[in-house]
């Protein structure tokens, strides 16, 4: 694959935009950018499980939560440095995913969705009530690292980690375990007949997803520098699934954009409501976010099952080194990647 100058310019433009955004955005909203980066990381975590392995998760807020509390506890109670706290969060996320995965291996489809919901609720009602770990109602304090104290600096840290996770995702897909995970999504029997350990690779998808979500949790905790169990409810898990499907399960660029969209949506609704005193905006408040999410989901499932990634098919193909043309077969693949598209 050769990188042409025009393509290189496009990548440079995207990078410049990412670097500039925290500078341009009014300082009041810089934390929204950090949240968008964290949602992008969570979307990539969901993508490993939903997009690549073809599993369902409606309990992903629990992974974010255990990561956030583990990091907060490591930072404020154990006095660990930030980098070490992120590693702790990743490991705790992995362990949580291993527990869920162990149960989830025995079920699929609708039952898997129910098990993951139960897991999320269980975590919220038991784990997140452990006072010394989560700080109870007052919440757990999670200070930022000394190098990234300011909001703008911390945003760059979040964007940097998002970039690292993107690179990991790119490598994973091209690797032996990554290919095996995708093979079993399409057909477990075929994967097994090629000697692929189906159980092991499914569990691996859960563990990788849990680790990425745990890292996202660590970053999430230090955005406001305090987290409490109310931050990790079922509705957040649903948002994570929505942004993955609307972004285009199975496509890393699509799901990251889905994550960013759902992260900034409440703020955008809020600001338009406050600033435009004409009809639709007078009625639209941030409380409309779930309804808008539902409408986006319906539009995605009916018009673009491949999500944002499908709408940008030509652009993404070009950025990936191909022609500026939609790959019609690839859309079929993207559709197949979604959990909803498969019986």
């Amino acid at each position: 694959m050769t990188v042409r100058p025009s393509r290189l310019a496009a990548f440079a433009g995207i990078l410049a935009l990412l670097l500039l955004i925290p500078q341009i955005v009014p300082v009041l909203y810089v934390n929204v950018i950090s949240r968008a980066a964290v949602y992008g990381i969570l979307a990539l975590s969901m993508n490993v499980l939903v997009g690549y392995a073809g599993q369902a998760s409606l309990g992903h807020a629990a992974f974010l939560g255990v990561g956030a509390f583990a990091s907060g506890y490591a930072l404020s109670e154990l006095g660990m440095p930030f980098g070490a706290a992120v590693v702790v969060a990743a490991i705790v996320g992995m362990v949580a995913a291993l527990v869920l995965g162990g149960v989830a291996l025995r079920v699929s489809g609708l039952y898997l969705a129910l098990v993951t919901i139960a897991f999320g609720l269980f975590a919220q009602e038991t784990l997140f009530n452990i006072r010394f770990l989560t700080g109870g109602g007052a919440g757990q304090v999670a200070p930022r690292p000394s190098l990234f104290q300011g909001d703008v600096a911390y945003t760059y840290l979040c964007l940097g980690v998002l970039l690292l996770v993107l690179i990991f995702d790119w490598r994973l897909v091209a690797s032996r375990p990554g290919r095996a995970i995708q093979a079993l999504r399409d057909d477990e029997r075929v994967a097994a007949s090629w000697g692929i350990n189906v159980t092991g690779h499914k569990l691996m998808a859960f563990v990788i997803s849990g680790a990425i979500a745990g890292i996202g949790g660590a970053l999430f905790a230090s955005i406001e520098q305090i987290v409490s169990k109310e931050d990790f409810g079922l509705s957040l898990s649903i948002t994570f699934l929505l942004m993955t499907v609307v972004g285009g399960a199975g496509n890393r660029w699509g799901v990251v954009q889905g994550g960013i969209l759902f992260a900034v949506l409440p703020t955008i609704l809020d600001r338009t409501h406050a600033n435009f005193h004409v009809f639709p905006f007078t009625g639209l408040t941030a409380t409309w976010e779930p309804a808008i999410g539902a409408i986006l989901l319906l539009l995605t499932l009916t018009l673009f099952p491949g999500g944002i990634a499908q709408q940008q098919g030509a652009l993404l193909s070009w950025l990936g080194g191909g022609p500026f043309k939609r790959d019609h077969d690839a859309q079929g693949a993207a559709q197949g990647g979604g959990m909803g598209a498969r019986p």
């Binding site: 690797s175 032996r176 290919r179 095996a180 399409d186 075929v190 097994a192 007949s193 090629w194 691996m204």
Partner: protein, 265 residues
């Protein structure tokens, strides 16, 4: 007709029976496959041929009986454990990864042959990268062997059925099996393609040293290619023998063609 007894069979199916609810899908089926031979399995629809494949490859657990691979009892083993011991199979409904290209399918099919570990593969160490090139080269060789080298970069979705069957065989060949079970590989193929495929199956036996079990509805081709033939009917063994013995077996002819027939083909 007495059942043959090989001294050292690669695969041995020992009086396997399987029941689904009230249906006895297989009853006391025995089968042996020796080194370097092509074994044909004949039988009308519903004879239990694919069920037998599923019992051998581990997707079904027989209610009674044993399956032995290279002398080892694998009756309780998972499908992937049997594949790891050198048993390859194709599926009646094409067994490929639908969202991948042909090349990607052949690369992931070589899963067992990859030596570098998962982490090295993700990091992309020089050793892992050079191994990746070897996988691709090998995939190309297998595709060329199957005569579908030009399909390399096509996506599975959108290929014609006959081609898919050949890609599927190529993918299983890429797993480097010692025993290869082919389930109706010629569905959707023309007569000429069928004949060319049978030449290739003989090449696999003679040049690659693979033993092949072949389920196929095209009786003359099976009789021409096979070294030994088993016939199933309604889940029970009906006959076994050399192809010429099966051709002239009156019972087999009746099962296939109805009352009054005396020879096959």
């Amino acid at each position: 007709m007495p059942a043959r007894e090989l001294t050292d069979p690669l695969l041995e199916v020992d009086s396997v029976s399987i029941r689904f609810g009230g249906v006895q899908a297989l009853a006391d089926v025995a089968l042996q496959v020796g080194p370097n031979e092509i074994v044909g399995i004949l039988g009308p629809n519903g004879a239990g041929k694919t069920t037998l494949f599923n019992c051998v490859s581990g997707f079904y657990s027989p209610t009674r009986g044993h399956v032995r691979l290279f002398g080892e009892d694998v009756t309780e083993f998972k499908p992937e454990a049997r594949a790891q011991r050198g048993l390859g199979r194709t599926f009646q409904q094409v067994g490929l990864v639908r969202s991948f290209t042909v090349m990607e399918n052949l690369v992931v099919a070589q899963h067992m042959g990859v030596r570098s570990n998962g982490l090295a593969s993700i990091v992309g160490t020089p050793a892992a990268r050079s191994e990746e090139r070897v996988l691709r080269k090998r995939a190309e060789d297998v595709l060329d062997f199957m005569g579908i080298g030009d399909m390399r970069d096509r996506r599975i979705a959108g290929l014609p059925y006959g081609t898919l069957k050949m890609v599927e065989v190529a993918a299983v060949l890429a797993t480097d099996p010692s025993i290869l079970m082919l389930d109706e590989p010629l569905a959707g193929a023309s007569g000429e393609e069928g004949s060319a495929f049978c030449d290739r199956v003989e090449q696999m036996r003679d040049e690659l040293g693979i033993s092949i079990i072949l389920i196929e509805h095209h009786v003359p081709l099976v009789l021409r290619t096979s070294d030994y033939v088993y016939v199933l009917n309604l889940g029970t063994p009906l006959a076994e023998g050399l192809p010429e013995e099966i051709r002239d077996n009156a019972e087999v002819a009746v099962a296939y063609m109805g009352e009054g027939a005396s020879t096959l083909a």
